[in-house]
Amino acid sequence: MKLELRGITKRFGALTANDHIDLAIEPGEIHCLLGENGAGKSTLMNVLYGLYQADEGDIAIDGEVRSFAGPGDAMAAGIGMVHQHFMLIPVFTVAENVMLGHEQTRVGGRLDLAAARAKVREISDRFGFHVDPDAVVEDLPVGVQQRVEIIKALSRDAEVLVFDEPTAVLTPQETDELMATMRQLKAAGTSIVFITHKLREVREVADRITVIRLGKVVGEAEPTATNAELASLMVGRAVELTVHKEPPTLGDVALSVDSLTVTDEFGTVVVDDVSFQVRGGEVLAIAGVQGNGQTELTEALVGLQERVAGSARLNGRELIGRDVRAILDDGVGFVPEDRSVDGLVKEFSIAENLMLDRSFGEPFVSRGSVKPRVLAEFAREKIDEFDIRTQGPEQAAGRLSGGNQQKVVLARELSRELSLFIAAQPTRGVDVGSIEFIHKRIIETRDSGIPVIVISTELDEAAALADRIMVMYRGKVVGIVGGDASRDELGLMMAGERPGTTDGGTEA
Amino acid sequence: GAAPEEDTAGGEGATDFLPCIVSDFGGFDDKSFNQLSMEGVQEAADELGGEFKQVESNAETDYAPNLENLVAQGCNLITGVGFALAPATIENANANPDIDFVLVDDAGDADGDGQTDADNLKPLLYDTAQAAFLAGYLSAGYSESGKVGTFGGQEFPTVTIFMDGFKQGVDYYNEEKGADVQVVGWDGSTGTFTGGFEAGPEAKTAAQNIIDQGVDVLLPVGGPIYQSALQAIKEADRDIALIGADADLFETDPSTADVVLTSILKNMHLSTYEATMSSANGEFDATPYIGTLENDGVGLADLHDFADKVDQGLLDEVAALEESIIAGDVTVESYLG
């Protein structure tokens, strides 16, 4: 089926998120939508899916104008969507999530879970997913949740499938598998709209590319276009896609982690006897598929985990056993993985978020009172310095786009006197322009002699930033390799294979 | 209906004497002391051919403003119902010497000197223990199971005075007759209370718990909770007699007729009526009134349908006992002395 969006306009108050956008999706094509954060991609897709009502414009299917009062209508018309933010009920099982909204029942109104399970298995097998229909979604790794979303969309026999940034949380392997799936679907005649910030993926699968900036279509591109061309089209300026960094000037060992073990509340050992060291002035990247202990490891270092054994000394001082505040006061900067939950208070202003972990004393607080003027001044400075796109320091952080929210967290953590900087997934879901900036700041931090730990599931990022890469699998360290290790080697390590030829130097 | 003539002059009534009354948190429909006191005032007002004003309180903090607002309305006599209104009533009485005040169930003696604290304040007190004593004696004699029961709403003296008198009456019976009738639900210092004055499931289970102990006479004390007791009695699989408190239940709630043995009367409507009338006639006298068996301020109600179910000998004994109490030969103890 051929899907056309004609002159779609969508406003949120004074803001025009979509401004007369025209887009045509041909049957059986993979159509990529590119654009920086806040360009209006998700909004456009939400209009298409009936979640938002367009202020102007029409949606036409095979030339016939249709109107969707809600997602139900869109689904009935054969449109499916995998949302940027998972639309799964965390406490439901996979089968329940998949059946939700088009449940089959048996006598007594009893849900036919068997049918739903069978459906999940069938789709799962067809595309080579391994998804247990009875697993509870919140217990699943995000990669699997992503698949559940896809199964959900496929279970309704959609003819047009929208994927809104599905790869932001996937490993390289998973991304490859997803793209294979997309090709499979396309071969079966399904049209796909694919939104991503990763240019490599675009060039790999796209048949056509449309670029959106500030709510308007700014152009189309061929899959053969270079990364640089695509990036500048998106952002409206030239973007440096590779991080320029000098070889590290290594200082002394600053952080020394010894037999660190973290157990979760159910008794699973999530970080298992991990030892490594980080020197001043180097970036250690921790790579690995999400859910293999990286998060818990960094959380243990800042005092956020409860059942921790072993030791971690920062400049000779033990971190384990002290509370979060003491550790932060020691100069540990921490960018948590989930910015919207752990990084920001969305209802607070940008300024307030910038002082979130410095509310106990100078510079923003004296004698129990906040100094609003000092804080406002500081906030303005950081908004400039970190190029946070906002109406002002008083704007609620939750109203910023994801990339800008991330910059607020970075600005907060990087403007303290640091002795160690830990950043988890610093660029997840962030557009290329912002990635360039964030990477630059991380390297600057390293170059000022501070030890840096970066967690990334993104191999490109790990490779771009790291001086050494430590790979974790099932809570254990598989190995530590140099920053120039090959993708293939890292991929194998992430699957738990010990590296054949490595000498990343645990002794470093 | 037909429309009245346009100008019915003087329809306002024959007097401009304005009696007023303030309830405590129970409200005027409590089938208990607020209601009875109000009925007395109402009756007086009707007889005088004038109006009266009634004002309900919902909480302790309402008493003072309610009284003050009635003063502002030009009331000539203001009755406060309940010990809780004492301080506010005393204060208003002292502030408004031209207005007569009546205080139900409290001596109006906050400073503890044994004197009422205002010259224009008439306390109405009721030694209900005397009447309850008779009820206790009657119940003990009536009981076949040898167990009688009582329970209250909240542990207030105006509640426990009934339970106390009742228990003393039973004890007296035991003494006189060498019997061993037990009182379930009150041992003279502590007992069963529902925690409130609502006729809800709490009151009903309290009644049931007492019935389960084998009593065949039950005295609930505390406004509407008698309804729950009545229901528990109806659902029990044997005959249990109910004793009313305050008003004659047989009259005020005919649905109790089958089970009500008698009621312990606290004739508040009589004394508020009299106080109101005397004030209207300019004969207001602030000396405290204490309702007793002697002055009919308290008493035992007629047995109505139960008259022939009770042994005449027992009735005679009760009548004799009443005389002895009036004569002071038998003393009933209560906080009123």
Binding site: M81, I89, F92, T105, E265, G475 | F151, T192, K204, N209
Partner: protein, 426 residues
């Protein structure tokens, strides 16, 4: 998460057992506290447990007579043994099985009852029947709360729904002369309160807690107003509904102990059993429940699969109101055929506590309400059989028990994720 090749770094993730000393500590503390009773306040005489309601019961069970103090000591020993067992299990890094806790609780209860009822007769049937009666409106209220919160609307208005139900049941029951219409009216009244809650909370996004608290005040004001202006003076015509009759279920009601407690009840109580079962089944096994829970957990996700969030919320909040309204009918069509001002006396708030205590689950909320009813009636029975403790402390008992149960045993509870959150669509 499929591995490309067989992993070399060990197979499964290591697991250790988390040792929590909570259970043995609680056992020990409770045992010691209980031992204080026979130690410092020894009671002489025997406690008689009466297991039949009356002499006429078809199957007679003899009274169980236990000597008070010795029984208490035996129970202390058994409890101490359980505590030691728990310590050993914990030492061995094994969890203490649930049956130990059940047994521990039963032993504690027997010991306590024997001690407290020394020299008197404890009517067990009455104790249990009363507990059930006290719990019934709470259960209805809690179920109304469960449905409301599970669909994402905090229902503080349970108190108002109970009260409106009680009022309407009495009023309509009186003027129509049949309790059935009274019951229907109670449900409609509860439903209407739910509807107002829904309009303000769902359509106008007003803070749900405000609406709930205000509705409680509104219903209290309106019912008291109509009670005192209309009903109080016309009790016979407007405020004396016929009560539902007790129906003994054939056979079941003959079962010793359980029969008279559970199966000699009115239709309202049987409806309560049914509603608990239906709500449980519906919530976890049917399309209705699946959608309801989805809307309460993640309304936007529900929206994206074509579920009309507002409609789902409206219907279920109204349904919740109707169920709570039935609880109101218990007051005036089962307990006592008369409405009185604010006669629910805060039961709605206790129901709210029960549903949180029960972790937003219909069965557990029911159990929580039953626990509360039991504690309430236990104090009632003790005050009757003669307890030396001042009445005020006795009346405090159910609340203290709940407080300890919540703080000691239940701990953290997680509400439905979107409970209290309005769903605002662009």
């Amino acid at each position: 998460m499929t591995a490309v090749a067989e992993p070399v770094v060990s197979g499964a993730q290591r697991r250790v057992t988390i040792v929590s000393w909570k259970v043995p500590v609680i056992y020990a503390v409770v045992t010691v506290l209980f031992a204080l009773l026979p130690l410092f306040a020894p009671r002489s005489g025997a406690a008689t447990f009466r297991l039949v309601r009356s002499a006429e019961a078809a199957i007679q069970i003899p009274d169980v007579v236990l000597p008070a103090n010795p029984t208490a000591w035996v129970c202390v020993v058994l409890m101490a043994a359980a505590a030691v067992f728990a310590v050993l299990r914990t030492r061995a890094s094994q969890p203490t099985p649930l049956w130990t806790t059940v047994a521990f609780t039963i032993v504690l209860l027997i010991g306590f009852l024997a001690w407290a009822a020394a020299g008197s007769t404890l009517p067990m049937i009455g104790l249990l029947v009363g507990s059930l009666a006290l719990a019934t409106p709470l259960i209805f209220g809690a179920l109304g709360g469960v449905i409301g919160e599970r669909v994402g609307v905090v229902n503080i208005a349970i108190e108002g729904q109970l009260l409106a139900g009680a009022f309407s049941a009495a009023f309509v029951g009186s003027i129509t002369g049949t309790p059935w219409l009274g019951l229907l009216a109670a449900m409609i009244a509860g439903l209407l309160v739910g509807l107002v809650l829904a309009v303000f909370a769902i359509t106008y996004f007003v803070n749900q807690i405000i609406v709930g608290v205000v509705l409680n005040g509104l219903v209290a004001g309106l019912t008291t107003f109509f009670f005192s202006t209309m009903m109080a003076d016309n009790t016979e015509t407007l405020n004396s509904p016929e009560l539902f009759r007790v129906i003994s279920v054939p056979l079941l009601s003959e079962i010793p102990i359980i029969g008279p407690v559970l199966f000699q009840q009115t239709i309202v109580t049987y409806l309560m059993y049914a509603v608990v079962a239906i709500v449980w089944y519906g919530l976890y096994r049917t399309r209705w429940g699946l959608r309801l829970r989805a809307v309460g957990e993640h309304p936007q996700a529900a929206d994206t699969v074509g579920i009309n969030v507002a409609r789902t919320r409206y219907l279920n909040v109204m349904l919740a109101g109707a169920i709570a309204g039935m609880g109101g009918a218990f007051y005036t069509l089962v307990s006592n055929p008369q409405f009185g001002r604010e006669m629910t006396g805060g039961a709605g708030y206790i129901a709210l506590a029960a549903l949180i205590f029960g972790k937003w689950d219909p069965i557990r909320a029911t159990l929580a309400a039953l626990l509360f009813g039991f504690a309430t009636n236990l104090q009632g029975v003790f005050s009757v059989i003669g307890s030396p403790v001042p009445s005020q402390f006795m009346l405090m008992l159910p609340y203290v028990v709940t407080l300890f149960a919540v703080a000691g045993l239940v701990g953290r509870s997680r509400p439905p994720a979107a409970s209290g959150q309005p769903y605002i669509k662009e």
